[in-house]
Amino acid sequence: MKNIVITGATSGIGLAVCETLLVAGHRVIGIGRSAESCDKAKIYLLSKKNNADITYFNADLMQMAEVRKVSSKIIEYIDSNWDGMLDVLINNAGCVRSRYCTTKEGYEQQFALNHLAPFLMTYSLIDSLIKAKGRVIVTSSESHKNMSMRWDDLMFTRFYKPLMAYKQSKLANMLFILGLNDRFSKKGIRAYCVDPGLVNTEIGLKQTFGIVSLVWSLRKKKGVTPDVPAKTYHFITSSETHPEGMYIHGEEKKEYSSYVNRENADRLWRISENLCGVEFGRLR
């Protein structure tokens, strides 16, 4: 039995992962954006397994202040119920936008939710992860390939292209995971990116319009159901020892973009520290 925190846990891949992990007998904290969707998801999960150990917290994770608030609540919960041990953190929440939108900090929303939120969430929960020699998983995607970071304008304030901003955020996930393994593997932590493949979820239809929602509504029909990628998360979570590799599809490690290297990872790490206002695992 493992202790798991998962974000974006009220629909799509996140909900399917919750179901799979709960049925396998793990304990889960889910995070969703609205209290309403959290309640709905909880009722659904309890209908699948009536004694499931599931707790929901709600937070709008693209706002850094909310990441901090909810993570301190989670730490409290972990300390009093799970003996301070967190085995797996699944940073799964993500979004797609069709236009340039900003968070309260003035950060571009896809960059904030898809990259900065996992960064700050992992930072906030790192002590509990170290204590349990835990694993960190981020939902990335094949779309990180054939992409580079726009270092001089990470928030895409010039020539905003929704798909490029999305691709960049998924590349940022890969760089974050590389940086995380660099800094914390000696403390027993291992980090992974999952490639879920093309999945039939609503991600491209929430708060989008025009061409983005049109393309996604056509494209998602070809996708697999969310319980298929859920098996990958289950595999990484439940393995006795840390599985090999850092970019996983199915149960196999996969090649990733050559852009994902130490130099770029360190560069993004420093920028992310600055944008989140934290110091996270100095190398020296």
């Binding site: 340039y100 939108c101 900003t102 003035g106 304030t157 010039r158 905003y160 319009f209 944008l275």
Partner: protein, 264 residues
């Protein structure tokens, strides 16, 4: 360059703040939402190492606005650019809104804008240009049933800006009205554009582009900026077509959009 932005914590105000910070301007932000200002200031400092101060204030309240004036005065700051962004709307039929709601549109969009403009002109540098950017709307181009007070308040801003610009040109003051279509600033706004279908998408503008070009145009002393080619065509057409016809078409469109939104 010292810049004042009202309504800075909202979508468009924030976009202006980010654009100004990127250009290295010094920012003086105000909004009614304290937490929003604080978070934005933090974000701007972290991402652009910007010089930011902020003051929480309801600009429809005379006393609070006076405190804002003192806040600037005491720091001995001159101002080069003013963004009047703060504005509200209560969409819907005139008789279906409370009078407080109707009145608040006039108070924020007109009265407060005038007060702030009057006040900030005192902080103009001698021999340096002073630029004012008034956020009007595409709605200022036509009478709009179901947005009647809002559209008229934005028309006020447009006409006022043209006149003030002429009046103060020789004193090196330049006024630009920004008349954007839909902007994807909030979830509410995005849903509003989605139910309008094709035209909602076609008349909407890109927030980051509007922010950048507005400042560029203001620096070039332009008087009005209607972003988007289609919006400009609408605006020109509005000057030639009979007003009864325009009003009827707009009424039909808004009625449909509103009923669609109520159903979803």
């Amino acid at each position: 360059m010292n810049v004042v932005i009202t309504g800075a914590a909202g979508g468009l105000g924030r976009a202006f703040a980010v654009e100004c910070a990127k250009r290295g301007y010094n920012l003086i932000l105000t909004d009614i939402c304290e937490q929003g200002l604080k978070t934005l200031a933090e974000g701007l400092i972290r991402s652009y190492d910007a010089d930011v101060i902020y003051f929480t204030c309801d600009i429809t309240d005379e006393k609070q606005t006076e405190k804002f004036r003192k806040f600037i005065d005491i720091r001995n700051i001159y101002i080069d650019m003013l963004f009047n962004v703060a504005g509200i709307d209560h969409e819907g039929a005139f008789t279906q809104r409370s009078f407080e709601q109707i009145n608040s549109i006039v108070k924020v969009n007109i009265e407060a804008t005038l007060r702030i403009t009057y006040m900030m002109l005192n902080f103009k540098r001698v021999d340096e240009p002073f630029r004012i950017i008034n956020v009007s709307s595409l709605a200022s181009q036509f009478p709009m049933p179901l947005k009647a007070v809002y559209a008229a308040s934005k028309r006020f801003i447009l006409d006022f800006s043209y006149a003030l610009n002429e009046e103060l040109n020789e004193k090196n003051v330049y006024v630009l009205s920004l008349c954007p279509g839909g902007l994807a600033t909030t979830q509410n706004a995005i849903e509003g554009m989605a139910v309008q279908g094709f035209f909602g998408n076609a008349t909407s503008n890109r927030l980051e582009v509007v922010a950048r070009k507005t400042i560029d145009k203001s620096l070039r002393k332009r008087r009005v900026y209607i972003p988007g080619a289609l919006n400009r065509i609408f605006s020109v057409a509005g000057k030639f077509l009979p007003v009864t016809m325009i009003t009827r078409v707009i009424y039909m469109r808004w009625k449909r959009a509103l009923s669609l939104r109520c159903n979803t």
